[in-house]
Each structure stands twice: as C-alpha cells, then as structure tokens.
C-alpha cells in the first residue's frame, strides 16, 4: 500500500534494529530475503534510506553539504544538486539554515538535516531507528507532528516508512500498521492496524484502546512447557 507508515515494536533486545538493518540490506539475513519492487535487496541502497537513533551528521559539512551527500550517487550537475538539497531542507523546515554547521544546531535540527539527506536520495522506503529517542520531549513532539506530512508530501518519492520505537504513544500517533515482536527467538505476535483520523490525540478514547492492546501484546511471553 502506498504512503504507509509501519511500526515495529517489541521489548529491548528482541531484534528490532537488526530487522530494520536486514530490511535495508546492511545485514544479510540467514534465512529469507528482502524484495523491493520485485528486486532482491542484497546490499544497502539509497532507495532504502536509514535514519539513525544517534543522530549522524558530518560536523565538517554545512547543513546543505550534508544533504548533498544524499545526491552524490545520482551524478547531477552542481546546480541541480544545490537546488534539490535546498528544497529538501525547506521541506524539513530548515530554510535559512543552509550554511549552518551541525555544531551550531540543536539535536532536533540535526535530525531534520539527517532526514533531509535521506529524502534527497529519492528513496522508496525510509527506515527510522528510534529517530526521536535522543531528543527532548518537546522537540520530539514537534517533529512527530510534522513528520508524517513531510515524509509523504508530494515533493518526495517515498512510498513507505518503517519506524522502530519503544514509545507506544509515538507509535499510535504515527503508524498505519504496527507489528509486535516478542519472545525468544522473536516472532511477530501481533499485527495491529490503527484506523484513526490524523492528527491523533492521546485523549481520544480510541487512542487509549490501541495503547492497551499494544501493551498487552508486549507483556513477557511465558515460556511454553515442553509437551510430551
């Protein structure tokens, strides 16, 4: 389905980040395969962009130069690079900050730079590994409110986004579908489709019901007693 935001949730150590990296081709799966638009994914590709939990920008490059890195593989002219990079910074709300270095920016702004860099690469899928975990709550909330419309605006090529998160409020607020991983070895113990209008409010009764459902699925799995 187009423009879908999928969340993966599960207890610590269950393998959420590993799954995300398998989806991106960063880790080879021991079993199974990843298919993107009919083609097998065997190594990292700009078509599947990863956003890190610990926000990764390059301190020796300005915001604009950081974003341009995402365009390098396309071999564009300097002018084209420049104009796309500027457009992406504008999309994430950083116009006017093109010449700033990451050091001069807050954590929230740096993560926007990282998102703009990923979007500049023209990806079909965006992988987000707890993208708001290192931001203070106010900044995170601000970014959350914008992210959905930013990602799926008509200026991006994005078809889907996958979010790994520990924060259930965040998950219910943002996702279209949630996969719950649990147990060891981990399996998908639940798939929840969130059918609520956006913007979603935590005060909404339905919001709370989804939260309850997710927490229920996340309770520790009792070990099965061997039969026979």
């Amino acid at each position: 389905m187009d423009n879908e935001l999928i969340a993966i949730v599960g207890p610590s150590g269950v393998g959420k980040s590993t799954l995300l990296r398998i989806l991106g081709g960063f880790i080879k799966p021991t079993e199974g395969e990843v298919i993107l638009l009919g083609k097998k994914v065997t190594r990292p590709t700009p078509k599947i962009a990863l956003i890190h939990q610990s926000i990764a920008t390059f301190p020796w490059l300005t915001a604009l130069e950081n974003v341009k890195l995402g365009l390098k593989y396309r071999n564009l002219t300097k002018e084209e690079e420049d104009s796309i990079a500027r457009k992406m910074l504008e999309l994430v709300g950083l116009q006017g900050f093109e010449e700033f270095y990451p050091k001069q920016m807050s954590g929230g702004m740096r993560q926007r730079v990282a998102i703009a860099r990923a979007l500049a690469a023209d990806p079909y899928v965006l992988l987000m590994d707890e993208p708001f975990a290192h931001l203070d709550e106010l900044t995170a909330e601000g970014l959350r409110q914008e992210i959905y419309s930013t990602l799926f605006s008509q200026d991006t090529s994005l078809k889907a986004a996958v979010l790994v998160s520990h924060n259930m409020n965040e998950v219910v607020e943002l996702s279209d579908r949630v996969f719950v991983l649990n147990g060891g070895p981990a399996t998908v113990v639940g798939e929840v489709t969130i059918e609520m209008e956006r913007p979603r409010s935590p005060r909404d009764q339905k919001f709370q019901e989804y939260l309850d459902l997710l927490y229920k699925l996340l309770t520790p799995v009792k070990k099965k007693v061997k039969e026979g």
Partner: protein, 528 residues
C-alpha cells in the same frame, strides 16, 4: 640485546613516573599546567634529531667517559619518547570523570590514595596505547645512538646497535644476520606483549563511558556509548580513543581563556628559551671561536638555509608517500578484517624493528638492481627509502586507528548513500580521521629527520661504499661532526632548531588546533 632493551624500558619507565608526578602537579597548579603543556606540545613536534649533535657535544665533552656516552644515549631516547607519554598521562588526568573525582574527594583520599586508586589506574590504557609507538621510536633512536662519532673519536655504548655495527663493518655478515635474528625475535615478542598489554589495560581499566575524554569539549557533546554498546566495541576501537587527544584546556570557561592565552604564549616563549638553553654548550663553543670564524659562519648562512630547504623537500616527499600509502592501505584493511588481523601486527613489529640495524644488509642485496634502475639517483633513492621505512608506520598506525574509530553510523550512511570510493575518502573518511592523520604525520615527519640524519651520509655502509647525498643539511652536519668542526655543528643545529620550532608553532600546532576544532567525528553523533 638486554642492554639495549634495558635502556629502552628504563627511559620509558622514567617517562611514565615523571609523567604521573608532573601531571598531578599540573592538575593542582594552573600556571604550571599552562607552561608544562605548551612546552611539551612544542617540544613534542620538534624532531629529536635537532638535539642530536648538541647533546653529543654536551655529554661527550662536558661529562665525558662511559657515563657521558651512556647518558647521551639515554637522554636521546628519553627526548624521543617522553613528550608523547607525558601528554597522554596529562590528558588522562584531565579527563578523569567528574563523578569519580567527587567520590575521591568525598572519601577524603590524600595524594597517595588519589594517585593509586584513581589517577594512575585511569591513565593506564592511555599509556598502553602510547607504548607501542614509543617503543618503536625508542628502538630506532637507540640503535642509531649507540654508535656515534664526534671529531675523530667514535663513541659507543654496549648494545645490539653497536654489536651489529661492529659486525657489519668487520664484514662478519653471518654473525650480523644472527644478531639481527636475535633482535627480530626480541622485537616480535615485546611487540606482541605490548599489544596484549594494551588490550588488557583497556578491558581492565577502561571505563564504559569512554567518551569521557571527549566530554570536556565545548559544545553539545554527549556521551555516546552506553555500557552495552561499549562492551560490544572491539578493544582496538576502544584503544583508538586513547590514542588521540582532545584539547583538555577547552573545558575552561570563557573568561579564563584570555589569561590562559597569555600563559600559553609564555609557555611557548619558555619552550624557546629552553631550546636555546640546551644549546648552552653550543654557545660555549661559539663564544670561544674567533671573530673570523663568526664571520665565516654568518656568511655561510644563506647556503645553510638551502641545505635546510633540501632536507625539508626530502622530508616532504617521504611524508607525502607515507601518507598516500597509509590512506589507501589503512582504508582497505579496515574493509578486509581477516587480512587486517594478520597484517597489522606484522606492520607493528616491522616498525619496532630498527631500520638502521638492517639497512646496510638491505642495501647490500638490492644495490645492483637499484643502481640499474635509478642511475645517479641511487643514493637519493636509498636515503628516501630509509626515511620511509623508519617513518611510514606512524602515519599508517595513527590513521588506521582513526578509521577503526569512525562511528559505525558513518559506515552505514556511506553504504546507504552508495558513495563512491573517492566520495567516501574525500567527504567522510579523511575528514573523520583528520586529527589522527595530523598527529601521525607529525611523528612521521619527526622520524623522517632521524632517517635522513643517518642516511644522508653513511660512510662504509657496505663493502667500502659510502651512502651520501649531494646536498643536505644532515650530511653537512655529519661531515662537520666527523671533522670535529664543532663551531659549524653548533651553528647549523641552532639554525635548524629555530626553523623547526617556528615551523611547529606556526604550522603543526595550527593544524592540530584545526583538527580538534572542526574535524571531530564523535561530535557528528548526537546522542543524549
């Protein structure tokens, strides 16, 4: 062999002990700290070989006898290794985590308690990280300095360097080979032990929050490594964090910056004075020379500057070649983990294996082929080769540590964005490793001078052949030394040391400041 390694470890031990003491004093006294740091930083970036002729004159003529020769050797090795170790200890002391320091205050630990329970253990990994290059450096200089000549007399102290020299000059090549074999075995064993020690010390004394060395930097730097992540980080990556230094002074509050700037300048002035001070014996020589000699010395100065220029050119060529090979090899190795595991210890061992000991034999075996290929440039080639093999390691090792220490997020971003090899190198790998490259390159340049000092004029290197270049400061110095022309030796050393200090203050230090300000890969990772 025992005598040689004994000397090496004695000087290293001396450096560590004095480093602990001076480091503690620096913590307590701000004025001392600023002078100590500026002094060490300047002297660290000055090649040891600058002191060489001056020190020889002082120890051999003013002290004399066996003690004089012994002290000269130890002093030379000491100056080769001490700055690095001192600075490492100081950095460790400065970056002891605030909470541990508070605990030690809380428990009212005295000097002895604080040192043994906190500061010394905390400095161990950093010392261990510095030991491998220091050991290599010390071995190099000790084999060089075990045999030296002033005027018509050759002085030597007993050790593997003088033994191999004696055997080679006597044409006893078989025995020379045996001695080299012994040297090789000892170097291999010691290097492996030092590697083990470095890894052990990181596991045993390293803190989980190893970003502590970076935590003192200004700006929004956050501790990046949770304990879980840190345990997963390989020892070599952890080690890398000890090998590079942040600038601890930057923790100072802004108002103090002005004051410390003055003190820093004062420190640099004192460093300058210190250099002139150790040239004391030069001055005694110079003051005793007649006016006409003075006139002669001054009139030759323009030519002396050409000599310095020629040697800077050689050093530049060696440094560029070393850097280029290091950049490719280091990056390639970090992608090929299995090869890396085999190659890096080999390179480390080769580096600790002093080039001057085996170079005559290498020369003997390759000379015919090299002469056919290079013709009249043969000697020049050998000099550059000697410079290269005695220095390549420093920039390679430092850069390799830098590559290993690159945040793993950067690797993922590079892969994700499908950057080409050149894009990776120019946009990410070289900037990320820039501080490592600068510090490695500084050591490389310093040791290159050492290589030139031996190679530019090497009488009877093999079978009556003399290795010598056409024009070069080091050759000129060696010749003047051999002729007992102490006035010229003193004068050349003085000019050389002034140029080197100016170069280090104006260029090396600037480059290091730039590296610490702008090219800090860890600052690119924002994690609360």
């Amino acid at each position: 062999m025992g005598a040689t390694t004994g000397r090496v470890f004695f000087t290293i031990l001396l450096s560590v002990l004095s480093g602990w003491l001076l480091g503690y004093v620096a913590l307590k006294n701000r004025t001392f700290e600023n002078i100590y740091i500026s002094l060490s930083e300047v002297l660290e970036s000055v090649p040891v070989i600058t002191f060489f002729p001056v020190v020889l004159i002082f120890f051999v003529t003013d002290i004399g006898g066996t003690i004089g020769s012994q002290l000269a050797v130890i002093f030379l090795v000491f100056t080769a290794v001490v700055w690095n170790i001192w600075m490492g200890i100081y950095q460790a002391f400065k970056t002891v985590p605030e909470n541990l320091r508070e605990v030690s205050e809380n428990l009212r630990l005295g000097f002895w308690g604080k040192m043994t329970k906190l500061y010394i253990p905390f400095s161990v990994p950093r010392i261990a990280a510095n030991l491998i290059p220091s050991f290599a450096d010390a071995m190099f200089y000790i084999t060089v300095s075990e045999v030296f000549s002033v005027g018509n007399s050759t002085y030597s102290v007993f050790g593997i360097g003088s033994l191999i020299y004696d055997l080679t000059t006597a044409g006893e090549y078989t025995y020379a080979f045996y001695s080299l074999g012994v040297l090789a075995a000892v170097v291999v064993v010691l290097t492996l032990l030092l590697r083990e020690f470095a890894q052990y010390s990181v596991q045993r004394y390293g803190l989980d929050t190893e970003a502590s060395s970076n935590a003192v930097r200004r700006g929004r730097f956050r501790i990046r490594y949770s304990s879980r992540l840190s345990n997963a980080v390989s020892p070599v990556t952890k080690l890398a964090r000890y090998a590079i230094r942040s600038r601890a002074q930057e923790a100072e509050i802004e108002e103090e910056r002005e004051k410390s700037h003055h003190l820093k300048t004062l420190g640099q002035i004192i460093a300058f004075v210190f250099l002139i001070g150790i040239s004391y014996s030069v001055f005694t020589v110079i003051s005793s020379v007649p006016d006409q000699t003075w006139g002669y010395l001054l009139s030759t100065t323009p030519y002396d500057l050409i000599l310095v220029g020629a040697d800077y050119l050689r050093v530049g060529i060696i440094a560029v070649i070393s850097l280029v090979i290091a950049l490719f090899l280091g990056y390639w190795l970090s992608l090929h983990v299995k090869t890396e595991r085999a190659i890096v210890p080999i390179i480390q061992t080769l580096a600790a294996f002093p080039a001057p000991a085996y170079f005559p034999l290498l020369f003997a075996f390759t000379y015919p082929a090299v002469e056919r290929a290079f013709g009249s440039f043969t000697d020049e080639f050998y000099v550059l080769l000697l410079g290269f093999i005695s220095t390549f390691y420093y920039v390679f090792y430092s850069y390799w540590l830098g590559v290993k220490n690159m945040p793993h997020e950067y690797w993922e971003v590079m892969d994700n964005l499908n950057l080409s090899f050149w894009q990776r190198m120019s946009k990410i790998v070289i900037p990320s490793t820039f501080p490592y490259i600068v510090s490695g390159l500084t050591s490389t340049i310093n040791s290159a001078w050492g290589g030139l000092a031996i190679g530019e004029y090497w009488p009877d290197i093999y079978d009556g052949k003399t290795l010598e270049v056409h024009t070069g400061l080091m050759k000129y110095l060696a010749l003047a030394d051999a002729q007992g022309n102490l006035a010229v030796v003193g004068w050349l050393s003085l000019i050389f040391s002034i140029i080197v200090v100016i170069y280090s203050v104006l260029f090396t230090r600037k480059l290091m400041d730039l590296a610490r300000e702008k090219y800090v890969a860890e600052e690119g990772i924002y994690a609360a």
